[in-house]
């Protein structure tokens, strides 16, 4: 007993290693991948074997875990179904729920100047939520860049055949004539459609997020069909950064200005325009353009990061 305590005290062992499963992530950091090509297979099979041995040892625990997981899922499903069955029917038995919606529907056009009530709602009534939402995408872009942008640390730890795969013409679809011709025919209309959705957010269904996604998809098809060398001439890393920064900064400050003036009772001086015209809905159009730019850059950035580990030509 004393011996065990002393061992624990000096940090040489832990007294409870067999008592509690502390669920530590096994130490298999990627830096350990210093093996030659022929050794990789053997190393992988060794690790798979170790894992299976551990699994065999803990079979009872895994079975218990599985049963508990299934039971708790079933319980959650049951509770949620019960809750849904108990809920009042929306808008019928629950007149209170109409208060907010009625104002959006009846006065939305007059107060926001947008024919599309959804746009008026997300960019005017509840613009603060949307301000956060557009930064969610930006945050995701930052995380993907951290993970996938090639740097000294990444390059050292990538599998060696990474670059050979990239150089292999078999994986490069940009030489495929069907792809090229199809892209040549469809791309202009996809781009135009994206711009249309983007600019008509205040009049018809659409807006920044959807229009930006279509434009991003068009950029992705363009890069896939003609290779990154073509897109890099126009769409550089620097440019993508500038567009993202300017759009987000414009968004933050425009909305900050509207919040500030609104809360202080100062007229904000943004013209509402004629409902139904392209210049209507006050700030909705410029905000849609800003969001669309960010979304398009982010979509293309994701594709580019996954394909080759950088956003554009440096």
């Amino acid at each position: 007993m004393k011996e065990r305590f002393l061992k624990w005290f000096y940090g040489e062992s832990d007294p409870m290693e067999h008592i509690l499963d502390c669920a530590e992530v096994p130490d298999e950091s990627r830096e350990e991948w210093k093996y030659e090509e022929h050794e990789i297979e053997r190393e992988i099979s060794r690790r798979v074997h170790t894992q299976s041995v551990i699994r065999a040892e803990r079979r009872g625990f895994y079975a218990f875990y599985l049963i508990i997981a299934v039971i708790s899922c079933l319980m959650l499903i049951g509770v949620l179904l019960f809750t849904v069955s108990q809920l009042p029917r929306y808008g019928v038995e629950n007149p209170r729920a109409k208060e907010v919606v009625e104002r959006y529907v009846e006065k939305g056009l007059e107060e926001t100047g947008a024919v599309n009530i959804v746009s008026g709602m997300i960019l005017d009534y509840r613009a603060f939520d949307t301000l956060g939402e557009s930064h969610v995408l930006f945050t995701a872009l930052l995380c993907v860049m951290i993970l996938l942008r090639l740097d000294e640390k990444n390059k050292r730890t990538r599998y060696e055949n990474y670059y050979t795969v990239l150089a292999d013409p078999y994986y490069d679809i940009s030489t495929d004539p069907i792809m090229r011709i199809a892209a040549t025919i469809t791309l202009p209309s996809i781009f135009l459609f994206g711009i249309y959705i983007l600019l008509n957010g205040q009049i018809s269904p659409g807006g920044g997020f959807s229009g930006g996604a279509v434009m991003g998809a068009a950029l992705i098809i363009y890069a896939a069909a003609f290779g990154f060398t073509v897109t890099d001439r126009v769409f550089t890393y620097r440019m993508s950064r500038c567009i993202t920064f300017l759009s987000l900064a414009f968004y933050s400050f425009a909305k900050g200005y509207v919040f500030f003036t609104g809360a202080n009772g100062i007229p904000n001086g943004v013209p509402k325009g004629t409902p139904g015209a392209i210049f209507s809905g006050g700030l909705i159009l410029p905000l849609d353009i800003a969001v669309g730019m960010v979304v398009a850059c982010t979509m293309f950035g994701f594709y580019s990061l996954f394909r080759r580990g950088s956003i554009g030509g440096e």
Binding site: W8, F9, G11, S13, D14, P15, M16, E17, I19, L20, E24, V25, E28, S29, R30, E31, E32, F82, Q86, L87, Y90, N94, R96, K98, V100, V101, R103, D124, Y125, R126, A127, F128, D129, L131, G132, E133, H135, V136, T139, A140, L142, C143, M145, I146, L147, D151, K153, R241, C242, F245, L248, A249, S252, F253, G256, V258, F259, G262, A263, N264
Partner: protein, 498 residues
């Protein structure tokens, strides 16, 4: 209306803008900018605190549309205190940790780190100021994503694995939270906190809808307790805090998990109504789970062979303390819980910022057997580690003691019964376990190593490290010695809630 009431808006919008700006700046400039900006935010928060202390809470309409239609934010004494303490900890974490950030990160990604940090600041502040459930959800998502980003930025395999685990559990939590918000929206037809509460006051009187209300509250609670790491869901903590770069570990354990708990408290007080929550069985379940977390977290901390994992399990135990406070209930229970949020935030940030220094003079190893004598090799870090360890154990004059005292007082105020006995037993057992593993660590870092290997001393960068650490120490002592000031602030803030 004075100009100060605009400050909460400025803190959020400027933080979002700073995130985008740091994306453009080169790494070093981003770091300097972030430091100056955090200092500026601290001043703003202090100003808001002063204003709310004198004039009471205020709501701020985001745009032209008032309460049930547009978004709103709100600032009271409690929110302002929370924001102030969070910003001070953020600032010290950046000041003490930037050397490690430079070491752990690829230089080309340093600006991304600071961009994420600024976005996280925006999310933390929005979750503190928000007066709208759905705004809470949006910024909770940003907080989850930025935490993952701050974790994986140290590109070693372990952080990636830990981030995947963290992500899965947190998304589960977010999903449950969203379900809860949807159910409440369906019941009340509103998303802003005050209109929901008005609707719920009527619904709770109806015995048919009360079970649905309980289930919605329970789902919200489960979601947020998964995200903050209450007992059965705490096992992501050691890998997350143990391998992240020190600034991230300090911020995530001190601020991020606390922000979720603060949102939960805000929901209990401002959305559901505290008297209705106390009628639900949730309170007793949280008490039991909190106590289980306190004991089991401490036992697992005993079992850790690595100082950061020990600190992480101790975080799990401390989240248990906070939920125990919520479980005790009443104004006193919530005061104790919020006081412990402050005490633990200050202490744990200090702990996570000293351990890497100790490891640095021990051949970059966090294992106890390598750490022998590290407090002698790096005297500053050793002293600050000891202070934070004392505070964690709950030795008088430090913040941890005042927090435990508050829990005891709250339990007494709650009245005699099984809850009182349980809380006192848990406090005793958990304090003893805390003492066991922290005293052991202190003895370890101050005993002379057997062979005189790795005896390098680290004299450089002393002022840049010691000044922020002294600020944390002063805060710790202030919370410990003048706890009545903070308790009074919390009490005023809670009274403003309802």
């Amino acid at each position: 209306m004075q100009f100060v009431v605009n400050f909460p808006l400025f803190t959020i919008v400027l933080s979002l803008f700073s995130g985008a700006l740091c994306f453009m700046l080169p790494g070093k400039a981003a770091r300097r900018y972030t430091m100056c900006y955090e200092a500026f935010l601290t001043v703003l928060c202090l100003w808001i605190l002063q204003y709310t202390y004198l004039n009471g809470a205020f709501t701020y309409v985001m745009g032209e549309f008032p309460a049930p239609w547009g978004n709103e934010i709100r600032a009271g004494v409690l929110e302002a205190t929370m924001a102030l303490i969070f910003m001070i900890i953020m600032l010290t974490a950046v000041f003490c940790g930037y050397r490690f950030i430079e070491k752990d990160l690829d230089l080309s990604k340093e600006n991304l780190y600071y961009a994420l940090l600024n976005l996280m600041t925006a999310a933390l502040l929005s979750m503190i100021w928000t007066n709208d459930l759905f705004t809470g959800y949006v910024f909770l998502e940003i907080l989850t994503l930025t935490s993952c980003g701050l974790l994986i930025v140290r590109e070693i395999g372990r952080t990636t694995l830990a981030a995947i685990r963290y992500m899965i559990l947190n998304l589960l939590g977010s999903g449950l939270f969203l379900l809860g918000v949807v159910l409440l929206y369906d019941l009340s037809g509103h998303l802003l906190m005050v209109p929901i509460q008005n609707a719920i006051r009527e619904l709770a009187a109806d015995p048919n809808t009360f079970p649905v209300l309980t289930i919605s509250t329970a789902i919200l609670t489960i979601g947020l307790s998964i995200k903050s790491g209450l007992f059965p869901f705490h096992f992501w903590m050691p890998d997350t805090y143990g391998w992240a770069t020190p600034t991230s570990a300090a911020i995530m354990s001190s601020l991020v998990s606390k922000a979720y708990i603060f949102l939960l408290i805000k929901i209990y007080w401002r959305v559901i109504g505290i008297d209705i929550v106390e009628r639900m069985p949730i309170r007793n379940i949280l008490l039991v789970l909190g106590i289980a977390g306190m004991v089991i977290g401490s036992v697992q901390a005993l079992h850790a062979d690595n100082i950061n994992r020990m600190a992480a399990f101790s975080s799990a135990a401390n989240i248990g303390y906070i939920f125990m406070g919520i479980g005790i209930g009443g104004v006193a229970g919530y005061t104790a819980a919020i006081f412990h949020i402050f005490a633990h935030a200050v202490t744990k940030a200090m702990l996570f910022l000293t351990t890497p220094r100790l490891a640095e003079v021990s051949g970059d190893s966090l294992l106890f057997k390598e750490l022998q004598g590290s407090g002698l090799r790096d005297r500053d870090a050793g002293v600050f580690f000891t202070i934070s360890a004392f505070s964690m154990i709950g030795i008088p004059i430090f913040a941890g003691f005042a927090a435990k005292l508050q829990f005891g007082l709250a339990a007494v105020e709650d009245g005699a019964g099984w809850r009182l006995i349980l809380v006192f037993l848990a406090l005793a057992v958990s304090s003893m376990l805390n003492a066991l593993y922290f005293v052991r660590t202190i003895i370890r870092i101050y005993s002379r190593p057997n062979e005189s290997t790795r005896m390098e001393v680290r004299p450089h960068h002393r002022a840049g490290y010691n000044v922020p650490m002294l600020v944390l120490t002063v805060m710790n002592l202030f919370l410990g010695l003048f706890s009545w000031v903070t308790v009074d602030l919390i009490h005023r803030g809670l009274m403003m809630f309802s």
